[in-house]
Symmetry: C2
Subunit: 366 residues, 2 copies
């Protein structure tokens, strides 16, 4: 437990600054007078790259590295690319993942009461699982390392290591154990999502998964192929509790999952290493709506709640755990009781209105 | 135009034989007395592997190679694996793809009237696009070629070549042109689905796509990242006409697309090379329901209609094109007018009943 935790805030591009501002206000409201967080702001992203030629300044990295947690808005401007065609604005997120070894990307997929799912049969509460995306290797290991031969053949190696798989699978099983109190009731189930039928590296992922699973006899373990997974996440999302998968597959199914609960704007993301935690919404920078006051801040606010929970557990600080819970409750209050919905989820509320209702909920301790 | 076309029929595993039998009956009904097809049956798959140690006999390959078209039921028994952990039953499909260079995997995603989509807002006709999956390289190029180092690191190379990308992208644009008569009206749009923002090989795919697109100024070209694609296929499927993508991504989004139109049982698949055509439903062998008479034959029957259309165009044979159309019409008749639905799409009809209704439709020329 500390007096105050250092939060490194990086606004980034597009709607990043708006959703960050909203979230900082919510964090302040959650604690009232006694804010145990110290925010410091640093630049990174495509806009900064355009201005300075550097998408991720050294000082920003140092600040992230030494902070207790990192809060990010969003990054990227389409078309601002590196010579190999990949996007410059994404350096912040991608470099942070690898330099800080943030190996566990945790993406809760939860249908909040008050939000309409595009799935016909989804009742509120019926979708509540967590995708644990391996965040340090897999196909993403190829980033910057792939090769292009005479403009004729491009190769990106998909790399999966025993160490990398073991730690992410352990993470998933520990999470499944800790989810005993989840609203849906205990499912205590971990699903390994792979393509073991065709590719050796995924067969390896599965075999290491099985070894680790044997150490958790109290938790059910099962396998699903990535292609079938997309069908199941549409037809029986309520079956799932914790899903663990390789980096690229995790990228794909976490967006799919988000689509079923109202879209990327409702989906928070935590990227955790043994030493650091990095929190943001799963959505991109949406430059087309930036500055209009209509961005959906729920994802970033929910990410901040995850941040408080993670910091609280890590530092045995009940103040933070409690505040995280209250933010979630106030989000439910805003969505379900007050129906304050942004455009992407079928409403008309702007970022400011949403923020105010959540802050009011926090002050009134709904 | 030939007097008769040789169709090599491989029943395969699980429900394969049932859906194949159903489809052969429908093909016979479509032509009445004057059947211009000659069927010959050959073995392959996991069951055959168990019996003989060979999942794909040489004679079966020769027969496939020399046939005018190949019709397949389904393959695979989970747990019957090669030493590297991948599935033996899949050799038939995967080897055929590579040995016959079936580079274009065409998967129409169409919501048939009478079938309920799990998507709340999907009206019949609102989902009608085609996924063109690159079928000869990408991540699947690694099959059998990946390496495992000391049980510590597994590597599968994702390989994308200029030649491979050019031909599949041309295929997609030609298809978009030919789809002028699609029920939904012309959309004349090709969407490139990739992960160009992070990986070099996908950036390469995109840049070759752009080069080819420039040769089709009458067709709209656009890019979508794979993760965003999953969201769009749920939220605005009617936007899409032809989607072209790398092998692994195509595997994933074609199942996702199938889920939105009633599931794998409703989804046909054509794998085309310059010389051969291979037709099957997209679903697996579903060993749990095999032999019970409840398998959904619609996917295989629709694949047979694609086969007739492909053969008809190739050999300038209007008999086949016409029969393909009549099969599709009779499928619509069975689904929409007669509501003959199998269990996977919410009904109670068995394979036999479905087959009979479609055959009756064909005889009565509905
Ligand atoms: C922005 C991009 C680099 C990132 C990814 O591909 O991982 C995003 O899609 C995500 O899911 O966090
Ligand atoms: C059965 C399997 C090898 C195959 C694939 O992965 O391509 C299947 O999922 C498909 O989509 O055709």
């Amino acid at each position: 437990m500390k007096n105050a935790y250092e939060i490194c805030v990086v606004h980034g591009d597009g709607i990043g600054p708006e959703v960050c501002q909203a979230t900082l206000r919510v964090l302040e409201a959650a604690f009232g007078e006694a804010l145990p967080l110290r925010f410091s702001e640093y630049p990174a992203g495509a806009q900064h790259f355009l201005k300075t030629g550097d998408s991720f300044p050294r000082e920003t990295f140092e600040a992230c590295h030494s902070a207790d947690a990192i809060l990010h808005g969003a990054a990227g401007i389409p078309g601002i690319n590196h010579p190999d065609g990949t996007e410059a604005g994404l350096d912040f997120t991608l470099t942070l993942r690898s330099k800080l070894d943030l190996y566990a990307n945790v993406r809760p997929i939860k249908l909040h009461p008050g939000v309409r799912s595009p799935l016909r049969d989804a009742a509120p509460g019926a979708i509540d699982y967590v995708i644990v995306r391996e965040n340090s290797e897999g196909l993403y290991a190829a980033r910057g390392a792939g090769s292009l031969l005479r403009d004729e053949v491009a190769i990106d190696p998909l790399v999966q290591s025993r160490k990398g798989i073991e730690r992410i699978v352990h993470f998933a099983f520990e999470l499944a154990r800790s989810r005993d109190g989840a609203p849906q009731g205990r499912r205590r189930r971990v699903t390994c999502c792979d393509k073991a039928n065709v590719l050796r590296s995924y067969a390896f992922f599965r075999s290491v998964f099985d070894e680790v699973a044997a150490q958790y006899p109290d938790i059910e373990a099962e396998h699903v192929l990535i292609d079938a997974m997309t069908v199941h996440l549409i037809n029986r999302p309520s079956h799932y509790d914790v899903i663990v998968t390789e980096n690229m597959f995790g990228d794909i199914i976490s967006d799919l999952g988000a689509a079923t609960i109202g879209g990327m704007g409702m989906s928070p993301s935590a990227e955790l290493g043994d030493g650091n935690g990095f929190f943001q919404a799963s959505h991109g920078s949406a430059p087309d709506i930036a500055g209009k006051g209509i961005a959906n801040p729920y994802g970033t606010i929910l990410a901040a709640a995850m941040m408080l929970n993670w910091l609280g557990l890590r530092h045995a600080d009940p103040r933070l755990i409690d505040a995280g819970k209250r933010i979630e409750t106030s989000v439910t209050y805003a969505l379900a009781d007050k129906s304050v919905l942004s455009r992407d989820i079928g409403g008309t509320a702007g970022s400011l209105e949403i923020t105010e209702v959540i802050c009011a909920g926090l002050r009134e301790r709904v």
